[in-house]
């Protein structure tokens, strides 16, 4: 056995570039596969850690929402369930400005706690032991980093401005970087006694957040539903739900999965071609082994062992690299994903990066590597084993270059399936089937490229003959006849298509953002403001510089009955007089007329994306599921808009209020002729007590762009990695093809081909390969792009794809450049080739 092992290891170390290439491709695909699986875990872990840092061991929380009559409530009714409760504590939340000096004012989130009650749910770990026996009066606890940054010590006094009143607090303790203060510096919390904060806000002993820890977590669901009945207009929920968790990473995880599929496809191709050459090279040895009595099975096993070793080595290294990739991905995008979630108070960009994965994910990825390597190499190995022993021993192998008709039919069949499938798959299985369609598309491209190449070269022969003379004709014939060039065309096509797919997805998302913000005709956007009513909006309107205010009722995630769980991401109750002044949408028809129609019954206008997704037209009816029950709406028209990423509907203000039971506005659009930032600050100051969430529209667009940019920088980067793996594969093929072609080139030289002519011919071949590869890549890319909306819809995300146009020329150019650059070394080598040596020694 050790001889065989030695033999295999020697084989692997002998052909360094090829072994490197096989390992490299396995490693990259495994790393990506691993990180696409584990990113959800990691971001999830960061998310849950953040949730935990704020909520501690809370199982259920109660807080006000836009329907609550007052942000404050009494905890009496919670007491009725004391049998089930381990501990409960009430919190008053507010905000304060800390005036450090004239130029620097910082906004802190004030957490008013009852020290002993809060300690039972979330630990406060203080430095030193100078803490007063009783946490009462004007005392404050700040975090270590904040203390260091502003030179604050225990016993110092801080001036905090709250609700327009200046109050001095004494620092009673400085907390270590744990619990609430885990991300201190990025989050800004100050803990004060609850009574003190409550009296500043006039809460009258009430709280605006209650944290409950249950005796048994199994009761959580039941407990929530029971408690909800007591707190009808308040939110009773777990700190976070599974859905919230998976929605954080859905797009990124899928993007990664698709990229790992693309790279895996290229890897399969690379390993397959490498093993084809490898088995041929090994033939004399195989023959010798077999002539001395080894069975075909034994020689097969040796080669399979070799491919398994590649799989194991690549799998191990790939998992290691995957951890690195995961770390980088989480660092770059994790906090963006987290900050999109608003359920954690004081949540913001930055913070600790933690990666997390399961042993199963690691094992799964390792298995993926081994299987990838094994299935890619098994076909060449089996093919070789079918060759009769006599022919092997006599090295009498004819490589058949026949293109079978079966291959053509299979190729056409699966590309057709991938084309007509996606619109037909039901929502419940589309997540999986659409990914399969991507795999199918790539497989079809690989199957069909030999035929596409044949067809193209017939055409190119004519064109090149005209442009480049007879060398052009010869080059075209070579492209058709050369397996290596056809292989390179495949590799280039897959590389280019992944580039196109990712660029298009990114470009389309950016276009959707641009369109969204272009249609918003106001300057400041309040995205949440508790208890916003008419008096509050009037009060906003009275702020200097505010020219007009439009408050709106906006419901989110309204399920649509009979659609396997599809929902409307956003549903606006609109004031027909004002909506048009604030949102410039592309209506299908007359906007005013459509909006007027909303008042004549339960009528809805949908974003045009929904027209296709829900398969509805004007006059169709859809049933929306509201907490109060199902309501049938008639579709009266469509608007081309990217609000809610296209998962959007408009109904009348009254219908929305009736059906959702909403009492307060939750989005407020503000027009101003003055500096929007100043207006934003004014609002923040004026409503410090209710903590509105708001941004200027310019800022919001920028933030959205940044978040998107990060994600797509990564996915684009990965598509470039895909291209690089393809290029490596191409170089490998060119090395193989040069060895194979040496003889032919020598013959051509012997009948009078000059160096110049050889270089010319090799470059024309490269141009032809580049053209065909780029064209095939563009075609495949467009097929894949067509799949994007379906794949996203399967995750309940919507995209209106902006089909690339001019950028395709750039892609084609990149393809040609790669192909031509890759041909430089073979061209030079070919021209320098010594005729006699090449003819004599093969």
């Amino acid at each position: 056995m050790s001889i065989v092992t030695k033999f295999i290891l020697k084989n692997i170390s002998e052909k360094k570039f090829r072994s490197f290439l096989i390992l490299f491709s396995i490693i990259i695909s495994t790393a990506l596969f691993f990180s696409s699986n584990a990113i959800t875990n990691s971001v999830g872990k960061m998310f849950t850690e953040r949730v935990k840092s704020f909520y501690g061991s809370t199982d259920v929380l109660v807080q006000s929402n836009s329907n609550s009559a007052s942000p404050f409530f009494t905890m009496d009714k919670i007491g009725r369930f004391s049998g089930k409760i381990d501990s409960v504590t009430g919190i008053v939340q507010g905000s304060a400005n800390y005036i450090y000096n004239k130029n620097e004012t910082l906004n802190f989130t004030m957490i008013g706690i009852d020290y002993s009650g809060y300690s039972k749910i979330n630990n406060i770990d203080l430095e030193g032991k100078t803490f007063p026996a009783k946490f009462d009066g004007k005392l404050a606890i700040i975090g270590q980093r904040t203390a260091n940054k502003y030179g604050l010590h225990t016993g110092d006094t801080v001036h905090l401005e709250m609700n327009g009143v200046n109050t001095n607090f004494t620092i009673a303790g400085i907390a270590k970087q744990t619990g609430l203060f885990m991300n201190d510096g990025i989050t800004k919390f100050i803990i004060v006694p609850r009574n003190e904060l409550g009296s500043l806000y006039g809460s009258g002993g009430k709280v605006n957040l209650a944290l409950i820890k249950l005796k048994s977590r199994q009761d959580t669901k039941q407990f929530i539903s029971d408690l909800s009945k007591e707190y009808k207009n308040y939110t009773v929920k777990e700190p976070y739900t599974k859905e919230e968790l998976s929605s954080l990473t859905g797009g990124m995880a899928t993007g990664l999965l698709i990229m790992s599929i693309m790279i895996a496809a290229i890897s399969i191709f690379i390993i397959y071609t490498s093993f084809k050459v490898l088995t041929m090279e090994r033939l004399p040895v195989t023959g010798t082994f077999r002539s001395v009595g080894a069975t075909g099975k034994m020689t097969n096993l040796v080669m399979m062992a070799e491919s398994t070793i590649y799989g194991i080595l690549g799998g191990l290294a790939g998992c290691l690299l995957g951890i690195g990739v995961l770390y980088v991905l989480t660092t770059l995008t994790g906090s963006d994903m987290l900050s999109s979630n608003t359920s954690i108070p004081g949540n913001s960009d930055g913070g600790n990066v933690a990666i997390s994965f399961t042993a199963a994910q690691m094992g799964f990825s390792f298995g993926f590597a081994v299987i990838l390597s094994f299935i890619s190499s098994i076909i060449p190995i089996i093919k070789i084993s079918r060759i009769p022993l006599k022919d092997i021993v006599l090295n009498n192998i004819e490589v058949k270059n026949r293109k079978s008709r079966k291959r053509l039919f299979i190729g056409i069949a699966i590309v057709t399936a991938a084309l007509i499938g996606p619109p037909l798959f039901p929502f419940s299985i589309a997540g999986i089937t659409d990914i399969f369609c991507i795999i199918f598309t790539i497989a079809a491209v690989i199957l069909l490229i030999p035929y596409i190449t044949s067809a193209c070269t017939i055409l190119l022969e004519k064109v090149f003959g005209k442009f480049f003379g007879n060398e052009g004709i010869l080059a075209s014939k070579n492209v058709r006849g050369s397996k290596s060039i056809v292989n390179n065309i495949c590799l280039l096509a897959v590389g280019i298509s992944s580039l196109i797919m990712m660029n298009t997805a990114g470009g389309s998302e950016v276009a959707m953002l641009t369109k969204l913000y272009k249609s918003a005709d106001f300057q400041v956007w309040i995205t949440s403001m508790p208890n916003a009513d008419k008096s509050m909006t009037d009060s906003i309107k009275s702020i200097d510089g505010v020219s007009d205010v439009y408050p709106i009722y906006r419901a989110s995630k309204i399920l649509i009955d009979g659609t396997n769980g599809r929902s409307l991401g956003l549903l606006d109750g609109v004031d027909k007089a004002k909506f048009q002044q604030y949102w410039k949408l592309d209506w299908y028809g007359d906007g005013n007329k459509l909006l007027n129609g909303l008042d004549t019954g339960r009528n809805i206008i949908l974003a045009n994306t929904m027209e296709k997704v829900l398969k509805v037209k004007e006059g169709s009816e859809i049933t929306l599921k509201f907490p109060s029950g199902n309501r049938v709406y008639k579709v009266i028209g469509f608007a081309n808009t990217t609000i809610g990423d296209g998962s959007y509907g408009l109904i009348s203000e009254n219908n929305l209020k009736t059906d959702t039971g909403m009492k307060y506005y939750n989005n407020i659009f503000i027009k101003t002729g003055k500096n929007p930032n100043a207006v934003k600050q004014e609002i923040l100051d004026k409503f410090a007590g209710v903590k509105p969430a708001l941004k200027t529209v310019v800022q919001m667009e920028q933030d959205d762009r940044d978040a998107l940019g990060n994600t797509f920088t990564i996915l684009n980067g990965l598509s470039i990695v895909t291209l690089i793996v393809s290029i490596f594969g191409m170089l490998n093929n060119l090395i193989i093809s040069f060895i194979e072609r040496k003889r032919s080139l020598a013959v051509l030289k012997s009948v009078g081909m000059s160096k110049r002519q050889i270089i010319k011919m090799v470059f024309i071949e490269a141009i032809a390969g580049g053209i065909i590869g780029s064209m095939a890549g563009i075609l495949a890319g467009l097929l894949l792009v067509r799949n994007i909306p379906f794949t996203m819809e399967a995750m309940d995300m919507f995209i209106s794809v902006q089909y690339p146009s001019w950028s395709l020329l750039l892609d084609a150019f990149i393809g040609m450049a790669i192909f031509t650059a890759a041909a430089i070394s073979p061209a030079i080598k070919s021209s320098k080739l010594k005729i006699i040596e090449s003819l004599k020694y093969e």
Partner: protein, 239 residues
């Protein structure tokens, strides 16, 4: 082009030297030692001559032929083809010489597998930048001579050894070169096929007046020509 000249006074045909080799040596370095394969060879071949090089294996026959065909470079000495020094040619001139002046035939045919019979034959024409369709007549004629008219669209893989060698011969003839160099052209064929090829050579030599220089091991094959050049240990033996 008529390269033979008549002496005006006597009217006697004076044969011109098409190949003129002087003091030609070729050696290979094998580690520290230098192996002399050809040792100061002098040789002239006249136009229209059909000569055969004979000698033991490893005596340098192929090497000599390759050097004459410009497929390899000598260590020292000169080779003139039609009065032109090979070593003074640049790559382009040398390539043109290989296309137009010399046709080379190998023992193992050396055809291009992805081109069909016609295309293989037309290679020197193609490389000369000429249009294929302008040479249809020559092609038909040559296919007829080598007896492959029916196989013109076949690929080399679909042909027997003898047929492949005839394609190689046709390729060597298509551009109407003055000199045919053949390295053991029938060494890999059965004797019947070999005889056919030799008859073809004799025919080309007589009818078209081509200069033929072949390497052969067979006395019978050599007898198709007019002259035998014996080589041993890298030297031409006086005959």
């Amino acid at each position: 082009m008529n390269s033979s000249k008549y002496n005006n006074e006597s009217g006697v045909l004076i044969m011109e030297n098409v190949i003129e080799i002087k003091k030609l040596s070729k050696s290979y370095e094998m580690g520290d030692t230098e192996v002399k394969v050809l040792d100061e060879i002098y040789l002239t071949v006249k136009k229209g001559e059909f000569s055969s090089i004979m000698g033991p294996s490893g005596s340098g026959k192929s090497t000599l032929l390759y050097l004459i065909g410009g497929l390899d470079k000598p260590t020292s000495g000169t080779i003139e083809i039609d009065g032109e020094e090979l070593s003074s040619m640049d790559d382009k001139q040398e390539s043109i010489m290989r296309r137009r002046k010399v046709g080379f035939i190998f023992q193992f045919y050396n055809l291009i597998p992805n081109l069909n019979v016609e295309e293989n034959i037309l290679l020197p024409i193609l490389l000369d930048g000429k249009k294929m369709k302008n040479h249809k007549n020559e092609l038909d004629e040559i296919l007829d001579i080598v007896g492959l008219t029916e196989r013109r669209r076949h690929t080399p893989r679909e042909l027997s050894g003898g047929q492949q060698q005839r394609v190689a011969i046709a390729r060597a003839l298509i551009n109407d070169p003055e000199i045919i160099l053949a390295d053991e052209p029938i060494g890999n064929l059965d004797s019947k096929t070999g005889t056919g090829i030799m008859e073809l050579f004799a025919k080309i030599n007589k009818q078209k007046g081509k200069t033929i220089l072949q390497v052969t091991h067979s006395k019978e094959a050599a007898e198709y020509g007019q002259r035998i050049i014996n080589i041993k240990d890298g030297r031409v033996l006086l005959s």
